[in-house]
């Protein structure tokens, strides 16, 4: 473990010393032994504060959206989940590959529930790989939770989601953590468009939930950051996973962020798509 941490520090230090990147995004220690925090290292000396342990949980890719027009390259430690996010951001024209330096760090598994669906520990895109790829662990049943909800009656489902959204406080942490939420201004923050109200009611919360699923569902890389960020612990991936499950059933095996070229499901069509509206 410490060997890998050392490699990361050396790599960041060299990049910064050579002026290859403006800063490096990684993980740093906190006061708590079981927590890390994303850190932005902008000097070679600072590299010594990088840490790598099972608590390096946060996905770092989202921070790229805060600096879309950097003067120098940004160094980013990239595991499978960060790399899929980067692929998606490139496809969505939000970041440019050439303004990133991706330091590949195959993931050895972290102590977070968000990793339960992880299907790709190794970065799919990187400039350098710091150590040997890891074997992928068998992920949990991808759509198990969705099937659980599907098994309910319509009224039960409504009660289930109603219960979930009754507890939603509309803090939008899910949106802020999501690497594919990349609008300049989110529709819920706008007064004028008026797609939905801002008030905190079951109805408006539910509509926010379904809309969020629709906005990101066909691009979701299943990193689980939304649920990790949710302060109320709501099972909101149940919505995006449902989108993915249906897309899988309608058009075959579908996963996002595996490359930077594939169109998302709602951005294209097939003449032979299933038709149930005749």
């Amino acid at each position: 473990m410490s060997d890998r941490q050392e490699k990361m520090r050396q790599s960041a230090e060299k990049l910064l010393r050579d002026g290859e990147v403006g800063y490096v995004i990684g993980w740093g220690a906190t006061r708590f032994c079981d927590r890390t925090t994303p850190v932005f290292i902008d000097s070679p000396e600072g590299a010594a504060s990088l840490v790598w342990n099972e608590h390096a949980v946060n996905s770092l890719a989202k921070y790229l959206l805060d600096d879309k027009y950097p003067d120098k390259k940004i160094g980013l430690f990239a595991r499978g989940c960060e790399s899929r996010a980067v692929n998606r951001m490139i496809k969505d024209n939000q970041v440019k590959r050439e303004s990133l330096y991706l330091i590949g760090v195959p993931c050895d598994g972290k102590s977070s529930d968000r990793c339960r669906l992880c299907r790709e520990r190794n970065p799919l895109v990187y400039d350098v790989l710091l150590w040997e790829p890891e074997a992928n662990a068998a992920p949990a049943d991808r759509f198990e939770r969705v099937r659980g909800v599907e098994a309910m009656s319509p009224d039960e489902r409504y009660r289930y989601w109603g219960g979930v959204y009754d507890r939603c406080i509309r803090c939008y942490a899910c949106r802020n953590a999501c690497p594919v939420c990349s609008c300049r201004e989110c529709y819920v923050d706008m007064g004028r468009t008026g797609f939905q109200g801002k008030q905190h009611s079951r109805s408006d919360n539910q509509i926010f939930g379904v809309t969020r699923a629709f906005h990101v569902g066909d691009r979701c890389i299943e990193c689980g950051e939304c649920e990790r960020a949710c302060p109320m612990g709501l099972p909101i991936m149940g919505q995006t996973q449902k989108m993915l499950k249906e897309i899988n059933e309608l058009s075959g095996e579908y996963e996002c962020g595996l490359d930077a070229d594939s169109d998302s499901f709602l951005g294209r069509f097939d003449l032979d798509d299933k038709d149930e509206f005749m």
């Binding site: 969705v146 409504y158 797609f195 939905q196 905190h200 309608l250 709602l266 069509f269 798509d273």
Partner: protein, 155 residues
């Protein structure tokens, strides 16, 4: 029972200008009769219909929503309805997954000549909704006298 007796559902139908709206006009020219529940909102193409419109309709008190357009391959704009097809196939499933009854949302291809299909579809949807009764799901808090306080945070 008391809820559905004498109940007339409120239905909004988003119809594309080139096929379904024309088909609905043709139903009029042929003096076909169908229930009064349906109100058509004209859009240039079924591809114009944003899923937000459907959510809004349920929230504001529609009992049923229809999205109608040209048959695939006949779109006035050539490919618009292929996107409609994908979008609303997912939308329908998401609504059902969230507990909305499958009978409340309908997407249909109705061409400019299919006046009878428009009439029959409206009649069928309206009959189905009459049996289902008023939609309470996704409704925003009713203003007065509603059963406020029953649900969670502000219904």
């Amino acid at each position: 029972m008391s809820l559905t007796e004498g109940f007339e559902p409120k239905i909004i139908a988003f119809c594309c200008n080139w096929c379904t709206y024309t088909g609905a006009d043709l139903a009029g020219l042929n003096r076909m009769k169908y229930p009064e529940n349906v109100h058509v909102a004209r859009v240039p193409c079924s591809g114009r219909v944003n899923p937000q419109f459907i959510l809004r309709a349920f929230q504001k008190g529609c009992d049923g929503v229809m999205v109608c357009g040209c048959h695939p391959g006949d779109c006035h704009y050539s490919t618009g309805n292929y996107f409609t097809r994908r979008r609303f196939m997912l939308m329908k499933r998401m609504l059902e997954y969230n507990g909305i009854d499958p009978g409340r949302f309908h997407a249909r291809w109705i061409s400019g000549s299919e006046a009878a299909k428009f009439r029959d579809t409206v009649a069928e949807v309206s009959e189905r909704l009459r049996k289902l009764g008023p939609n309470t799901k996704y409704r925003e808090a009713l203003r007065e006298g509603a059963d406020a306080g029953k649900g969670g945070a502000g219904i």
